[in-house]
């Protein structure tokens, strides 16, 4: 009816956290009935803006007009009642509650004689999941769900509110391709019904697939909005980063060592994967591609001594290796960067130095376990330089860094042991294009120095572009192997989804030659 009035308008929004100006005088409008992507580097202020819409933060200055009416959302309820529903970035879920309990948190509940009618709650949740094509038991405890399932629960919760405006902050960070395209189909349906969607993602190919127009923030400032039709990825990247990033995946091919650094034969871990065999050469990036649960991450964890191996052999530099713990693996020259940075990578209460230098302490410790702090500081400053970690100082708290820079600290720590073999599990999840390119440069440096790298990534274009060789896994088994010139998006996807029809193609004979 009044489609000329934008559904959401920001007018001069500013927000400051201590010394950080997260948003400054942000003004723009989101037209009704479209899918509107919001992009920007880590720390650009996207989530802050979204939290202001959701009544989580209050702006220091400026106002929001929603459906043409000025609003100050003081609480989550006020925003929700006005007709805004939000999928927040960090997958807010209560692990002790069931899926259904998470869905209905903070909402009107069906009652029976004054008491909550859980049967009805479960019934409605089942119906909701069915409608969304999600296969999750409403009675399952959230802690027992995978991250992807947890993310789907959070998404389902927002969708079920049937609001006029749906805001999603990196909703696909833990989803695989199939789940993502399912979600996109739903989002398109919603848009066609007149619902406006604001979509935040660091994955440009997603943005180009789903969005009608794209707005960009940089360092808390609004940069501009462009319609997708006619926009190019380079243009968007320039809006985000403020400079040219000519090559998103700057792959440099290095020479391989003649002998493999790592030989894996018939490796199996109970219930996770079996019969995995491959060689990794120095100077090589080996991509492991598979859907969630295909075992790719588990293979990395086994190679790092984190997941017990039930059978099979591992040889490092021609010598048989048995890792009972991660310490053994580190001693053999293996480094590992975990996928879940928040849970496994970071010590959230420690400083940048203490996060980055943890593994150095062992090496630098002198008599009585005393650590020469000046030497530690020197090495950490060098690491900050080498990995261009943007931080006010090495004694700053790790929490004050953007996601990308936090990740670089985790990588710096893993590499501080001078490893030969580097296992990277989704090293660029939730990281902006600029920081991604920097991490890809680190990959190139590693291979140039003769290291072997195994890369698992939730972002297919990344593995495909950065790998010299790709091994696909499906349901815990190796599905096939592709050399650099054979790597093709569609072929890899078919193998990873099991749609190629090949049965248990073993790469071992080809490799052992």
């Amino acid at each position: 009816m009044e489609s000329a009035v934008p559904i959401l308008e920001f007018e001069g929004i500013s927000k400051r956290f201590g010394g950080v100006q997260a948003l400054e005088d942000v003004s723009f409008a989101i037209p009704r009935g479209e899918i509107h992507a919001l992009v920007g580097e880590n720390g650009a202020g996207k989530s802050t803006l979204i939290r202001i819409c959701g009544g989580v933060y209050r702006p220091d200055a400026g106002s929001i007009r929603f459906k043409g009416k000025e609003h100050v959302f003081r609480t989550v309820h006020e925003s929700r009642n006005a007709g805004i529903s939000i999928v927040h970035q960090e997958i807010p879920i209560c692990p002790d509650l069931t899926a259904a309990e998470n869905i209905f948190l903070g909402r009107a509940l069906p009652k029976q004689g004054g008491l909550i009618d859980w049967r009805e709650v479960n019934r409605r949740t089942t119906a909701l999941f069915a409608q969304l094509g999600v296969r999750i038991d409403p009675r399952a405890q959230a802690a027992s769900l995978t991250i992807a399932q947890q993310q789907l629960v959070v998404i389902a919760q927002a969708l079920s509110l049937e609001s006029d405006l749906l805001i999603m902050d990196e909703p696909t960070s833990a989803l695989n391709q199939e789940e993502t395209s399912n979600l996109f189909a739903i989002l398109r349906q919603l848009r066609d019904r007149g619902i406006t969607i604001v979509y935040v993602s660091h994955r440009l190919e997603e943005v180009f697939e789903i969005a009608d127009s794209i707005s960009s923030l940089r360092d808390g400032h609004y940069i501009g909005t462009v319609p997708k039709a006619g926009a190019t990825p380079d243009q968007i990247v320039r809006m985000m980063v403020g400079r040219e990033v000519t090559n998103l995946f700057p792959k440099v091919v290095s020479d391989f060592t003649p002998a493999p650094l790592l030989r894996v034969r018939n490796l199996a871990a109970q219930g996770l994967f079996s019969d995995v065999s491959f060689d990794l050469f120095g100077g090589e990036v080996l991509g492991l591609v598979g859907l969630q649960g295909s075992g790719t991450s588990d293979v990395l964890r086994s190679l790092f001594g984190k997941t017990p191996v039930s059978s099979g052999e591992i040889e490092v530099n021609g010598k048989p290796a048995h890792f009972r713990s991660s310490l053994d693996a580190i001693a053999s020259g293996i480094a590992y960067v975990p996928a879940n940075r928040q849970a496994e990578g970071l010590f959230s209460t420690l400083s940048v130095r203490d996060n980055g230098a943890l593994l150095l302490v062992r090496r630098l410790a002198r008599a009585l376990g005393l650590v020469p702090l000046h030497e530690l500081d020197r090495q950490m400053r060098a690491a900050v330089q080498r990995f261009s970690i943007r931080t006010s100082s090495i004694s700053a708290s790790i929490g004050s860094l953007s996601g990308g820079n936090q990740q670089k600290v985790v990588i710096a720590r893993s590499l501080s042991t001078g490893p030969l073999i580097v296992l990277l599990d989704d090293p660029t999840r939730g990281i902006d294009v600029g920081a991604k390119a920097e991490i890809h440069h680190i990959l190139n440096e590693l291979t140039a120095a003769g290291c072997g790298v195994i890369l698992v990534s939730s972002e297919l274009p990344e593995v495909l572009a950065m790998s010299d060789r790709v091994i696909t896994m499906y349901r815990g088994r190796v599905r096939g192997e592709l050399g650099r010139e054979q790597i093709d998006h569609e072929v890899v996807m078919r193998m990873a989804t099991g749609a190629d029809g090949a049965v248990g193609a073993s790469p071992a004979p080809a490799l052992s030659a």
Partner: protein, 342 residues
């Protein structure tokens, strides 16, 4: 009702068809997390009963019910507080303060004991608010807040009266809180009532739901629009009120109050909660478990006395029980088919 804290699981049980209901019911009971502690309780009781025939008599069971009432009532409220990821070490002091205050009001100023009791409950509300507001607004751990108030409140109690207060005439009060209905002590009835109300509140009301969400993931709860600080303060108030109420019951039973009444009760209360299977780090609380935990503590105490166990050994035994019970819970939670996998 055995699926105490997994309300959505409850409906599965209700839905199970009558035909093979028995098998299914049995499985449902075995897989609840209260089952471990229930089995442990039954085994201990049977063992003691075999050794001392006087142990499993109706008389002794009712007697034990009376013994456990004070701890159990406080533990029910503490279960909410711990589930909301907080803790109250000052319950024992609050019990002492409130019952002493109540007794003094009546003894020295001639206030009707019922009115004194009501005022002591009111005082508990204020103490709970104090604990809650200092913890949530001041953003300090409840452990610290209530460790402080534990001493402060006990200090004031000793200041009020360094001597025991007794000989207060209020027959109805004694009958209501320490009398009998038929053979059953009223303490047992109060306790069971509070356990049932607590269980329903935890599993079937918005309050219990919000308490569990708050303790499970505070920031997710905030993003869902749940007033987590208010919920926490409410839990502190609940705990303090339960302590004052338990103080009334204890006073009615003993007919006197000591300035050190309730000293050390906080540890027994917390022990009952964790033995029952409530997670010490919040998010996951079970009232039925707490009841069983308090029962187990009492059975061991009473049993050891009956077996002629040495007083000092009793303490050692209780300590071992706490650790064994939590080991059982942790083990059941890990095992496939255990409660955590439901």
């Amino acid at each position: 009702m055995s699926v105490a804290n997994h309300p959505p699981g409850q409906s599965a049980m209700e839905e199970s068809p009558q035909s093979h209901g028995a098998m299914k019911m049995l499985r449902n009971i075995v897989t609840t997390r209260e089952f471990g502690i229930l089995a442990f309780l039954l085994i201990c009781s049977l063992l003691i009963g075999l050794l001392r025939p006087t142990f499993l008599t109706t008389d002794n069971i009712l007697n034990m019910g009376r013994q456990m009432a004070v701890t159990c009532i406080m533990a029910v409220a503490m279960t909410f507080l711990i589930t909301a990821q907080e803790l109250d070490l000052s319950v024992g002091s609050i019990l002492g303060f409130c019952s002493m205050g109540m007794a003094l009001l009546t003894k020295m100023f001639g206030v009707d004991l019922w009115i004194s009791f009501a005022l002591s409950i009111l005082a508990a509300v204020l103490l709970g608010v104090l604990n809650g507001v200092i913890t949530t607004r001041g953003r300090i751990p409840a452990f610290i807040t209530t460790l402080g108030t534990l001493y402060i409140i006990r200090g004031f109690t000793l200041l009020m009266s360094p001597w025991p207060v007794s000989q207060i005439d209020a027959p109805l009060f004694y009958d209501v809180f320490a009398g009998y209905v038929g053979p059953i002590p009223t303490q047992v009835l109060w306790m069971l009532g509070i356990v049932i109300v607590g269980h329903i509140a935890m599993t079937r009301t918005r309050f219990g739901y919000y308490v569990r969400a708050t303790g499970s993931n505070k920031s997710a709860a905030i993003l869902s629009g749940i007033p987590v600080n208010r919920i926490k303060v409410l839990c502190f108030v609940l705990t303090a009120v339960a302590a004052a109420f338990a103080g009334g019951i204890q006073f009615a039973h003993l007919g006197s109050v000591n300035p050190t009444a309730g000293a050390g009760a906080e540890l027994t209360v917390i022990a009952a909660v964790v033995i029952g299977g409530t997670a010490l780090f919040g998010g996951d609380g079970t009232i039925i478990g707490t009841f069983l935990g308090a029962a187990l503590l009492t059975v061991i105490r009473n049993g050891l006395v009956q077996l002629g166990g040495e007083g000092r050994l009793q303490e050692a035994f209780l300590g071992a029980i706490i650790i064994i019970a939590v080991l059982i819970h942790t083990y059941l939670r890990r095992t496939p088919g255990g409660a955590a996998d439901k």
